[in-house]
Every structure is written in structure tokens, then in C-alpha cells.
Amino acid sequence: MADPILRVEGLNKSFGGVVATHNLDFEVEPGEIHAVIGPNGAGKTTFVAQLSGMLKPDSGRIFFDGNDVTELSAPARSHAGLARSFQITSVFRNFTALQNVALSIQAHSGHSFRMWKPAATDAELNDPARDILEQVGLGARSDILAANLAHGEQRQLEIAMALATRPRMLLLDEPTAGMGPEDTQRITRFLADLKGTYSMLLIEHDMDTVFALADRITVLVYGRAIATGTPEAIRANDEVRAAYLGEEEAEIA
């Protein structure tokens, strides 16, 4: 098997007395979708924040594509090819959908100390941005202010902004958060199409999405990985059922 594109060794992070990440080892193979599930407060978003460079781990190492990126800043990791989408939609609300994506393109087209030419008519930014909006299904909405997009569309834009950084790996923090069943299915299909092109770490509460997409699943409880395995193995794992899946499925039933 090829070397993992993302490897995490012995990651620890606590806030005061609260342990958010506990001795976590984790791997994502190239082209793989590795889902991380777990109850609220399990430390999933904290984990992604450490991977994307927004939070510094207390100890442990993070390797991306064979390189130690533990000390790299968030923008440097973006340039290394690691893209993050946010659980809480954080598109630029006062910019149009096109401007949002164009900004992501701009971040990866050299320095931005260009102070004279208007950015709004810059084909070097807008053309690729339009392509990506087309790809995520927002082509017809490119001139709408992000604030005026429907919630589902904002989530799509969120992913479009991550894709526009031309990443090799996506860190998706609950891409379907707050979405209705129809939108959720659409995003699931869309991510399935991207499978293979990008390696992905997928944090998700919607179990249908997780089981439809994931090659492997890691279950996080109180910052510990209590199990890692194929969807079938996770479904059959008693400890997981007790800790998490069982109650969730019971709730649904």
C-alpha cells in the first residue's frame, strides 16, 4: 500500500482540564475517505483545527505527504495542499459567490500586494472560480451575495472555496451540517464524485452519508480513537455501538 498522505502520531490537546485529543494516531491513505465520527464534544472539530494549523497540539506530530507539518501555520498548510471546510459556515457574506471562490484562487496565485488592478474583473481569478462554482452546482448563482444564498448553497460554496485552493486533501468538518435530507443527498453524491481525486477526512453526523462515502471510519470518544475500521467492522463493533452508534440508531428507530 502507498504511504499515507496524512499521518498523525500521538496527538494530544487539552484545554485546562478538558482533554480534547488524547494520544491520537490516525492515517489517511491517498484517495481514501476516512470518516471521523463521535458524539458531540468528542473532539472532532478540535482535531481538524490541529490538522489545519489553527490550533497548536500540546504534543504529537502531523505528517502530510511525508513532511512534518506540525509547526506550519494555517496558510502554509493550505499551500502544502491541505484544505479545510468549516462546520459553521464561514463564507464571506458580503462578497458574491464568485468573489468568495476567486479569493481562494487568489490565495494560490502568487502574492497579493497587487494594489492597482481591480480584482473584480481579473479573468485570471474569475475564470477558474466560475469553473469551480459550475462544478459544485452554483454556476447560476455566482453573482449573488453569499449572505443571500440558501443555507444549502452556502454549504456548497464552503466546499467550493476549499476546492479552489487546489488541494490534495480535504478536511471536511460536517459538510452537511444543518442541511435538509435533499441537500444532504446532493452533497453526498457530490463528494462521492470527488472520491479518488482528493483524499478526504470527513467529519459527519449524518450516518447515511458516512456509510455511503467512507472507506474507513474512526470513532472518537472524549478525544480517544476507540475504534478504526471499515464501515462493516465499525457497524459490528460492540464498543462503538455502546458508545455511540447504538444510542443514535435507537434514537432514529
Binding site: S73, A74, H79, F92, Q99, A102, F113, P118, M161
Partner: protein, 322 residues
């Protein structure tokens, strides 16, 4: 982009400024020439503050310091009998840029209320530095000569100074307009909206915010050099935090993040300061100096009900401009 109505206001504003000196001298009252020169100088300061305040979301409570620095660059050279305008303005520009670079590099490591307080504290230090410089008049300030640029362009001709200031204002506003709509401007605005997101998509935000801070401070330095020429006097008072607050109020009145609004905000603030006390005095004698009693509530109403200031109240079909 600008709507037609706003473009009319902008052209009208420039036209009024351009027409003030001939009309004032025809009326035999040069007072308004001086007043409008002052308005235009503070318009430069307000527009440059808007770059970081309105567009960048950096609440700098110390922009008067750069005005003061620019003014002292002229004043101190003049003190030694050096009145070469090119040298004075060069030093005003480089000096305020360097100070903004240092202050910005310190302040931009903090966010929110800490940023405000540190900009306030560091620039108050400059104010007290000005007071402690006995050599240059200390508390009492310093009389200065006007800058000398060309033999044929004597700034002691009020009209020359006036149009020099107008030229600087138009240039500053135009430059700012380009900057704000450029790639750089998009980064500055993005940092205001969501800096974490900017970093996540790959922008090392600190350097861009710092550059914006320096540009803004430098333009205020130019305003200061012009102010020293207009008043022929510099004083630490120019750098007091109260002055910083005034520039901020001009931005708020005109409209944060509207670029052109703050220029109108400067006009409205200074005209209000000029006219309303007289009006109050004429109505009930002895009340004139309390004009803030009227201005304060009006400002509160404006801030509460017009988020984009007076510029935002101009009828407009499209939502964004700048």
C-alpha cells in the same frame, strides 16, 4: 461600483471644493477658503483611516498621531530654517510610514479591544513625547513657515496651498479607490469579515493587515504635513487621542467602509463644529461651547439607524460599492 447618484455626489463634492476660493474671495470672506482647506485635510485623514477601520476592521484609536508626525516633520525642518517642501514631505511620508510599521507590527498581534487600547496607548506616548520636546516648543507648540516647492508656486498664496490640498485629496481618494478594489483590497476586506477563514484558504494575513496599516498611517502623515502648512503652527495637541476620536467620528458620520463617505463626514463634522455653536449662541447666549450636546445624540441616532453613515443613506439600488 458607484451608482449614478453617488457619482453625482462625488463630482459635486469635488466641484464645491474647487469653487470655494473664487466664490469666497468674490464675497470678500476668505474664511471659508481656510475652513474648506481644513476640511479637505481631515477628509484625507478620514479616508485613509477608513481603509483600516471600515474595510480592514482594525479599530485604530491613534490615527491623529500620524497627522501629528507629518505636521512635526514640516515644523521641525522649518525650525532649522529648512523649508524645502520635497524634503519635508518626503520625511513626513517615510517617518509616518516607519512609525506606522512599528506600531502596526506590535498592535496587530492583538485583536479586538486589546488592539484599540494598544493603538491608543502607543500613540498617546507620541503625544507626550511631543509635550516633552522643550526644544520644539513642548506644550506650547511651534510656529512654522510654509513649505517651498517651486519658485512659481508660493504656498503663502492661499489659493496655491488650497489647490495643493485639493490635489492631494483627489489623489488620495483615487489611490484608495484603486487599492480597495484590487487583490490587496480584497484581502484586507476578507480579513475584516473572517480572518481565520482567510488563513485557512492560504493567506498569511498579518503582512497584508500591516501593509494596510502602514498605507493608512502614511496618508495621515501627508494630511499632517498639509495641516502644518495651513495653520503655520504645530502642537502636540494634533496627536491627542481626542483628535483620533474626531477622525473616527468623521468616518462614522460619513459611513464606515464606504471610502468616499468619510470625506463627506469630515466636511459635516467640521461645518457642524463651525456653524452650530454660532446658531446656539444666537438662540441662547452662552450655550455655544456646548455644541456636543446636540452633536452627540445626532451621532448616536446616525450610528444606530444608518450603519453605513450618511453616504449609505444616498439612494442606491446596488448593495455594494467602494
Amino acid at each position: 461600483m458607484l451608482t449614478r447618484t453617488k457619482l453625482l455626489f462625488l463630482i459635486g463634492g469635488i466641484a464645491i471644493c474647487a469653487l470655494v476660493p473664487p466664490v469666497a474671495s468674490a464675497a470678500g470672506d476668505d474664511f471659508y477658503t481656510t475652513l474648506f482647506a481644513r476640511i479637505m485635510i481631515f477628509a484625507i485623514a478620514a479616508v485613509s483611516l477608513d481603509l483600516i477601520l471600515g474595510f480592514g476592521g482594525m479599530i485604530s484609536f491613534g490615527h491623529a498621531a500620524y497627522v501629528g508626525l507629518g505636521a512635526y516633520a514640516v515644523g521641525i525642518f522649518s525650525f532649522y530654517g529648512i523649508n524645502d517642501g520635497f524634503l519635508q514631505f518626503f520625511v513626513a511620508i517615510v517617518g509616518s510610514a516607519l512609525v506606522a510599521l512599528v506600531i502596526g507590527a506590535i498592535c496587530l498581534r492583538t485583536r479586538g479591544i486589546y488592539f484599540i487600547m494598544i493603538t491608543l496607548a502607543l500613540t498617546q506616548m507620541l503625544y507626550f513625547l511631543g509635550i516633552s520636546l522643550e526644544e520644539y516648543g513642548g506644550d506650547d507648540g511651534l510656529n512654522t513657515d510654509r513649505s517651498e516647492f517651486f519658485a512659481w508656486f508660493d504656498l503663502y498664496e492661499e489659493i496655491n496651498l488650497y489647490y495643493l490640498i485639493l490635489g492631494f485629496l483627489v489623489a488620495c481618494v483615487f489611490i484608495m479607490h484603486r487599492v480597495i478594489n484590487s487583490r490587496f483590497g480584497m484581502v484586507v476586506r476578507g480579513c475584516h469579515a473572517n480572518e481565520d477563514r482567510m488563513q485557512a484558504i492560504g493567506f498569511p494575513t498579518f503582512r497584508y493587515k500591516l501593509a494596510a496599516f502602514v498605507i493608512s498611517g502614511t496618508m495621515c502623515g501627508i494630511a499632517g504635513a498639509l495641516l502644518a502648512n495651513l495653520t503655520e503652527f504645530v502642537t502636540p495637541e494634533f496627536m491627542h487621542w481626542f483628535r483620533s476620536g474626531e477622525i473616527m467620528i468623521m468616518v462614522l458620520v460619513g459611513g464606515m467602509g464606504t471610502l468616499f463617505g468619510p470625506a463627506f463626514g469630515a466636511a459635516i463634522y467640521l461645518l457642524f463644529e463651525e456653524w452650530v455653536p454660532d446658531l446656539m449662541e444666537a438662540t441662547i447666549s452662552g450655550t455655544g461651547e456646548n455644541w456636543h450636546f446636540i452633536f452627540g445624540p445626532l451621532l448616536v441616532i446616525l450610528v444606530l439607524f444608518a450603519k453605513q453613515g450618511l453616504w449609505g443613506l444616498i439612494p442606491d439600488r446596488s448593495r455594494r460599492d467602494g
